[in-house]
C-alpha cells in the first residue's frame, strides 16, 4: 500500500504505535528487542485473532460478547476430548466445528428472533462459560504433552501463534476488503433495510459473520490449551473487553458499516504494547484493566469527534 493512500485514522494508529514504542524503550531498556517482542506476542495472539473476527461482526452492525466464553467452553471441550484419548487431529477438527456451531447459534438467535446481538450474546456469554463450569467444576484438565507448547516452537523464526495470527490477518483482510461477502458485510452494517431492498441475503450474511466469530474462538481455544497446558472454566476472564477494544481502537464504528483489518492489526499491536509496557513496569492487573477501559473510551470519543463534522454537514 502506498503511504500517501493510507487513510488518516490508520496513520494516527501507526503514529501512536511508533511514539508508544519509543517512549517505552526510553523508560524500559531493552524493550524494543525484537526477540523479546516476538516472544511476548504469543500472549496476545488469541486476543488478536478474536479481534479479527470481531471486526466482521462489528462492521455488520452487531457485536459478539460471547466470543471469549465460546473460546473457554471450546477449550474445555478440547481438553476433555484429549484426556479421553481421542487422536489430536480429530480433536482439532471437532473443536472448531463445535465453536463454529456455538457462534452460528448466536447468529440464528439474532436473525430468528430479531433480537439485538448485544442481548443475545450477553446471554450466551453466561451460558457458554456456565456450561464450561458445569462440565469441569473447579477442576482443571491437563492437556497431553504432545499438544502443549506450540507457543514455544517456531516457524520461519516466528512463534506459531503469532504466525497463525499473521496468516489469519491476511485471510481476513482479503475476505473483508476484496470479496463480495466482505462488501455485503459492510452493506448490512451500513443500512440493513437498504440491503434487503438491494436483494442481499441479509439473514445468511449475519449468520455467517457470527459463525466466523465462532470459528475464531475454536482456533484460539486450541492455542490457549497449548499455551497453558491446562483447560479451566475461568480462563481468559474479561478477554472480550480486550477484543472489542482492539476492534474499536482499530476504527470499527460500533453502529456498523465501518472498520478495517489493517486498523485492527495496528490496534492489536498498540494494545499489546500498552499491556506489555505496563507488565514490565509492574503495573498491577487492576490498573491495566482500567487503562484498557480508558483506551476504549478514548477510541469511542475520538471516533465520535471524527463523526461530528459529518453529522452537522448540510443537505444542500
Amino acid at each position: 500500500m502506498r503511504v500517501s493512500r493510507l487513510p488518516w485514522d490508520l496513520m494516527v494508529l501507526l503514529g501512536l504505535l511508533i511514539a508508544g514504542s519509543l517512549l517505552a524503550s526510553f523508560f524500559i531498556p531493552g524493550f524494543l528487542d525484537f526477540r523479546y517482542l516476538l516472544d511476548t506476542s504469543t500472549l496476545h495472539a488469541e486476543a488478536g485473532i478474536l479481534a479479527l473476527a470481531m471486526t466482521f461482526v462489528i462492521v455488520s452492525g452487531h457485536i459478539d460478547l460471547s466470543i471469549a466464553s465460546n473460546m473457554v467452553l471450546s477449550a474445555v471441550f478440547a481438553g476433555l476430548m484429549l484426556k479421553s484419548g481421542m487422536n489430536p487431529p480429530l480433536v482439532i477438527g471437532l473443536t472448531c466445528v463445535a465453536s463454529t456451531l456455538l457462534g452460528t447459534l448466536n447468529g440464528v438467535l439474532v436473525v430468528l428472533f430479531r433480537l439485538p446481538s448485544f442481548l443475545v450474546t450477553l446471554a450466551t456469554l453466561a451460558i457458554y462459560r456456565g456450561t464450561a463450569q458445569a462440565l469441569l467444576g473447579p477442576k482443571s484438565v491437563a492437556i497431553p504433552k504432545e499438544m502443549v507448547g506450540l507457543d514455544q516452537s517456531l516457524v520461519a523464526g516466528i512463534p506459531w501463534p503469532t504466525a497463525i495470527f499473521v496468516m489469519l490477518a491476511i485471510v481476513s483482510g482479503l475476505l473483508l476488503h476484496r470479496t463480495v461477502f466482505g462488501r455485503w458485510t459492510f452493506a448490512v452494517g451500513t443500512n440493513e433495510e437498504a440491503a434487503v431492498y438491494a436483494g442481499l441475503p441479509v439473514a445468511r450474511i449475519k449468520i455467517w459473520v457470527f459463525a466466523l466469530a465462532g470459528l475464531a474462538a475454536g482456533i484460539c481455544a486450541l492455542l490457549i490449551d497449548s499455551r497453558l497446558g491446562v483447560a479451566r472454566h475461568d480462563l481468559a476472564r474479561g478477554l472480550e473487553l480486550d477484543v472489542i477494544t482492539i476492534a474499536v481502537v482499530g476504527g470499527c464504528a460500533i453502529r456498523g458499516g465501518k472498520g478495517s483489518i489493517p486498523g485492527t492489526v495496528l490496534a492489536m499491536l498498540l494494545v499489546m504494547l500498552i499491556r506489555t509496557a505496563m507488565g514490565v513496569a509492574n503495573v498491577k492487573a487492576e490498573y491495566q484493566l482500567t487503562a484498557i477501559g480508558l483506551l476504549l473510551v478514548l477510541a469511542v470519543g475520538f471516533g465520535g469527534l471524527r463523526g461530528s463534522p459529518r453529522a452537522t454537514k448540510v443537505n444542500l
Binding site: 462488501r183 465501518k258 443537505n315
Partner: protein
C-alpha cells in the same frame, strides 16, 4: 436587510459564492435553484446557522455578525425549517415560547402563556388549540408553531427553507396566505424552493442561484417559468412530449387479483414499452403493492405473471433474477448506503455477477459505475466519493443506476423524483422514456400529478388498497385522477 459578497465554504468548496441579495420589507423574495445550488446554505448563513467565509450581512443599514441562530433571532431574522423540531411532551403554547416562557415570581405564568400564544396564532390567521400536546401535530402545524415563535420575537426578516416540501396542497396555500399576511405587515419574506409553480403563485421577486453563484434576479411579473428553468439549469431541458403508445404490445407484467398487506384484489397489466402511472393518495396502498411486486413482502393471494409465466418471489433477489427491479420511495432509508462510496452503492444489486468466484473485480466495478454515471449524467468527482456528499438528485441517479444495471424487464419506480431538483427530474424522465422505448415495462408511482400525466401511457388510481380506476391518456386529467383517488364524484 442586505447581503453583500456572501460566501459559505465547506471543506474548501464554496457552496455559496459572493452572493449579493437585498430583502426588502413588504416583499416576498423567492430564491430558487437546483439541489446543490446553495440556496439553503444562503438562507442558513443569513439566519446565523452557518458562518460566512466572506461578505457582510447588514440589518437596517448596520453590519451584523451572527454567531448562531439565537443571534439571528435577536436581530429579527427568523429561519423556518422544512421539518421543525417540536417537543412532543409540551403543549403547543409551551413550544411557541420555549426558551422565553412568560414568568411571574419565577413560575410559569400559564394564563399569559396561553393568551399570548393564542394572539400570535390569531395574528397569523391560524386556528389551533394552544393547550393541546404537540405530540400529534402534522408537519404543517409544527411549522406554524415555529412561525408563531418567530412572531413572538417580532422578527422582521423571515426565511422559509423549502417549507412547502412536506405539505399538502391545502396546507401550502394556508402557508402562502401567511406569507402575504407577513408581507402586508411590512416584513421581508425570503422563500427557498425549487417548485416554480409556487414561486409564480406567491413571490414578488426571484433570485436564481446556480452552483452557488447568483445568476439572475427578476421581478416575477417580468419573467416566466420557462426562462427561470433555463436560468436554473443553464441548459435546455429535454422536451417532455408524450411518447408514442404501444397499443398492441405484448403484456410483460400481469397482476391478477393480487392481495397482500395494504392492498387487495388488484389487477393490472403493463405492456412492453409501456409506462403505467400509479396515482393515489399517500396510504392508498401503492407502495405496498410495489413492495409485493418487487419481492420485499409476499402477497397473500392472487398471482403475478411475467411474460405470461406465473411467478412467486421468495425474496428481492428472486425478483431481480426474474427481471423485476424497484427504485424505492425513501432513498435514504431503503435505497442508499449513505456513508459508502458511489461505486459501492451503484453496484450493490449486481455485485455477484460483477465479480469472479466471489472476488471483487475492481476494474469491472469501476467501469460499470463510470458508464452508469455518464448514462445518467451524474455529477460527481470520484466513484469513491461517499453518496452522502451528493445532492438529492444525484443520489437518486445512483439508486436508479443500480437498478438499471440489473437490466430489468419490469422497472417499478416509487416517487422517482421526490425531493429532486428540476434538472435531475428532467434527467430521470428522459431515462424512463428511453427505457420504455427500449421495451422495458415501467410502473411509476407518483404523487406529482403533472409528472404522472406527462409520463404515463395509462394511469391507474388506487384508493384504500384497491385499484379503483384505470384511465387512458385521453381521459386522464388531474381532475379525473383526483376524483378517483378521493372517491368524490364518478371516476
Amino acid at each position: 436587510m442586505e447581503v453583500k459578497g456572501l460566501s459559505v465554504t465547506f471543506g474548501g468548496v464554496d457552496v455559496v459564492s459572493k452572493v449579493d441579495l437585498v430583502l426588502e420589507p413588504g416583499e416576498i423574495h423567492a430564491v430558487v435553484g437546483e439541489n446543490g445550488a446553495g440556496k439553503s446554505s444562503l438562507g442558513k448563513a443569513i439566519a446565523g446557522v452557518y458562518q460566512p467565509s466572506a461578505g457582510t450581512i447588514a440589518v437596517g443599514g448596520s453590519t451584523v455578525r451572527l454567531r448562531n441562530p439565537a443571534d439571528g433571532l435577536a436581530h429579527g431574522i427568523a429561519l423556518i425549517h422544512q421539518e421543525p423540531m417540536t417537543f412532543a411532551d409540551l403543549s403547543v403554547a409551551e413550544n411557541v415560547f420555549v426558551g422565553h416562557v412568560p414568568k411571574r415570581r419565577g413560575l410559569v405564568d400559564w394564563k399569559q402563556l396561553y393568551q399570548r400564544s393564542k394572539q400570535l396564532f390569531a395574528d397569523l390567521g391560524i386556528s389551533i388549540d394552544v393547550r393541546q400536546s404537540a405530540a400529534h401535530l402534522s408537519v404543517a402545524q409544527q411549522q406554524f408553531i415555529e412561525l408563531a415563535s418567530a412572531l413572538s420575537h417580532d422578527s422582521q426578516v423571515w426565511i422559509f427553507d423549502e417549507t412547502t416540501a412536506p405539505l399538502t396542497p391545502k396546507e401550502t396555500s394556508e402557508l402562502f396566505s401567511i406569507f402575504r399576511r407577513l408581507r402586508d405587515r411590512g416584513c421581508a419574506v425570503m422563500f427557498v424552493t425549487h417548485h416554480l409553480q409556487e414561486v409564480f403563485e406567491v413571490a414578488d421577486r426571484i433570485t436564481v442561484l446556480r452552483d452557488g453563484v447568483k445568476v439572475a434576479e427578476r421581478l416575477v411579473a417580468e419573467t416566466n417559468p420557462g426562462e427561470v428553468v433555463q436560468l436554473m439549469v443553464g441548459r435546455d431541458l429535454d422536451a417532455s412530449g408524450p411518447i408514442t403508445e404501444s397499443a398492441n404490445a405484448e403484456p410483460i407484467l400481469e397482476v391478477n387479483s393480487l392481495t397482500g398487506p395494504g392492498f387487495s384484489e388488484v389487477s393490472l397489466t403493463v405492456h412492453r414499452g409501456e409506462i403505467f402511472g400509479l396515482a393515489g393518495l399517500v396510504g392508498s396502498g401503492r407502495t405496498e403493492l410495489a413492495r409485493a411486486l418487487a419481492g420485499v413482502v409476499r402477497p397473500t393471494s392472487g398471482e403475478i405473471l411475467l411474460s405470461s409465466t406465473a411467478k412467486r418471489f421468495s425474496s428481492v433477489h428472486a425478483a431481480i433474477e426474474a427481471g423485476v427491479a424497484m427504485v424505492p420511495e425513501d432513498r435514504r432509508r431503503h435505497g442508499l448506503f449513505m456513508s459508502q462510496s458511489i461505486q459501492f452503492n451503484a453496484t450493490m444489486a449486481r455485485l455477484s455477477e460483477l465479480s469472479r468466484h466471489g472476488w471483487l473485480d475492481h476494474r469491472k466495478l469501476e467501469e460499470v459505475t463510470v458508464a452508469s454515471g455518464s448514462d445518467l449524467r451524474l455529477a460527481y468527482r470520484s466513484t469513491s466519493q461517499p453518496v452522502e456528499s451528493l445532492s438529492g438528485g444525484n443520489q437518486q441517479k445512483v439508486v436508479l443506476g443500480r437498478w438499471l444495471m440489473t437490466e430489468p424487464r419490469v422497472l417499478i419506480l416509487d416517487e422517482p423524483t421526490r425531493g429532486v431538483d428540476v434538472g435531475a427530474k428532467a434527467e430521470v424522465h428522459r431515462v424512463i422514456r428511453q427505457l420504455a422505448e427500449q421495451g422495458t415495462a415501467i410502473l411509476v408511482i407518483s404523487s406529482d400529478l403533472p409528472e404522472v400525466l406527462s409520463l404515463s401511457t395509462r394511469v391507474g388510481v388506487m384508493r384504500q388498497g384497491r385499484l379503483v380506476a384505470t384511465l387512458d391518456r385521453g381521459s386522464a386529467t388531474e381532475e379525473s385522477i383526483m376524483a378517483a383517488a378521493t372517491g368524490e364524484g364518478s371516476a
